[in-house]
Amino acid sequence: MNGDKLHRALREMPIPEPPEAEERGRRIVAAAYAERRGDSELRGAMTPLTSERRSRRPIPRLALGLSLAALLAVLLLSPAGAAVRNWVDDAFTASTPRPEPTLTKVPGGGKLLVQTGEGPVVVQPDGSKRLLGDYEGASWSPHGLFVAAVKGRTLSALEPDGTPRWSITAAQRVAVPRWSPSGERIAYRSGFDLRVIAGDGSEDRLLAGSTPAGTPPDGRISPAYVPPAWSPTGENELAYVTGAGRLRILDSETGAVLAGAPALHKITWMDWADGGSKILEASPGALRVRRVLPAGHPSRPALGKPRRLSVPPGATVVDAALAPQRPLVAASITYWHKHGTHSEIVVFRPGKGSRILLTVPGSLGQVEWSPDGRRLLVSWPGANQWLFLPLGRGRGHAVANVSRAFSPSRRPTSFPQLEGWCCRR
């Protein structure tokens, strides 16, 4: 075989090319080029986060099972607290909240959705609780009028008092239902498929994944164990991560791939930010923001180059959440060192830096924004507490005995998982 033949073979052999790959790349490169030039159209079109949609999913629960010794841990305020004033209304200046024995009201109002060992529970603003049923997972509809709940192969829409509105039985186990901002669609995973169904339980269909029964999943298409995320723009754009670690944006009506890029390595969670102009990705070791061309731009939703938020080396991102109305990301970060662990709640403002709001010995768990973006609810499984931390002026609250409060049967159970804090008034 001579070089000419090999050259010809390499040059001419047919190779697969994803549909519109060249065009997609052209749009992304053009956008990056325009951004480099300071294109005013692109920059001007950046909009503040206005979605009412909740935006978080938990990252591995590293905090579970900690020793009760952490009950003696003392809340420490960050010395950097004062600097928070620059872009958060005020520093978190409360002294160590004395834990109240029970939750008598939700500080700041709104309803909580909590997954317990017995099923999802809705916590009303007055602190009263209602178990919705024996479901394995749940999430709010955009305005908190309904809850999507899953159990085995069943997906159900419930009223917040647990009354079922409809149910479907899928071919495979269902998980991570997510309502679209309009409430018209629910995306969910069934086995290795990503599916979408109308909010009234009709028009259930495959969006991406394997097809014939028994066929191994195609990792390049099938969804990974990362919840899908709807664009807050209401433009039928659904982001998900494939099993092969690729971030994709689909048109939820046609199934067409609108954009794609490599997802963050070991990604555990992602969501849209800044009114649909960015996508935040999280993994245990990193947080990353990727720009999406804004609504109204002809090339939307092309994905831009990712930018990492500064997570210190060796730190573990336990959970992260996007503020509903501001471009802020709260993260629960744990540091493991020879003499034990300590944890921080860090609030990032992408492109502007980060601030530590709270430092405690031991491990913190999930973090959740209040619907108005003024408070954080932080779970502290080791201390069996929830911490309600105001970002601005105000008093922090701590609630003790959280596990017992959500286990009426008094059976030993895992610490309740935060599934959502709903909704803006």
């Binding site: 390499l10 052999m13 060249e22 790349g25 990056a32 195609d218 990792g219 390049r220 092969a244 890029a261």
Partner: protein, 170 residues
């Protein structure tokens, strides 16, 4: 290149149009994964946009772009080699040309080569760089480049002969 550096979108679009296919093909022939090749080609162009201001116009753009493409493709291929769990499932879905189609045997044989050999074969015989240029691009001794080329070509020879036989029968 000069116009692109001075802010001409049209010039940037021309650069992209001129080099996209080559970059994608080179990436694909190293990684054998269409989605990854798309990402790699895209990332290479984004890196080019990032570095436009620093780019020395006296130097050619093409080898600079290809250097990024092939090095990223190699990084990807090495990472994939470590991800043992996906290999079996994914290989069944790899959209190879059907046997008998032009290049089918060759692309299958190329895929069997170690990524490092694939990269030098692609740089030498698709993109037509000299072994010296390849050595500089990959930061390897020239002797290493030559030995990888030789080993790679030995393995491809058999595939080429099979393909030739098939062509003759057609």
């Amino acid at each position: 290149m000069r116009e692109a550096q001075e802010g001409s979108e049209a010039a940037m679009a021309r650069l992209y149009a001129l080099h996209w296919r080559g970059a994608y093909r080179a990436a694909y022939l190293v990684v054998h994964d269409a989605a990854a090749a798309e990402d790699i080609a895209q990332d290479a162009f984004l890196a080019a946009v990032d570095a436009l201001d620093r780019f020395d116009r006296r130097r050619p753009f093409r080898p600079w772009l290809h250097r990024i493409v092939v090095n990223r493709a190699l990084d990807w291929a090495r990472r994939e080699a470590l991800r043992r769990r996906v290999d079996a499932a994914e290989s069944a879905f790899e959209p190879l040309p059907p046997p008998g189609e032009i290049g089918g045997e060759m692309i299958a044989a190329l895929k069997e080569l170690p990524a490092e050999q694939r990269a030098v074969v692609v740089l030498r015989h698709l993109l037509e760089y000299t072994p010296g240029e390849i050595a500089r691009m990959l930061e390897l001794p020239r002797g290493t480049v030559n030995s990888r080329l030789r080993r790679g070509l030995d393995r491809l020879r058999e595939a080429a002969e099979t393909e030739q036989l098939a062509e003759e029968r057609r």
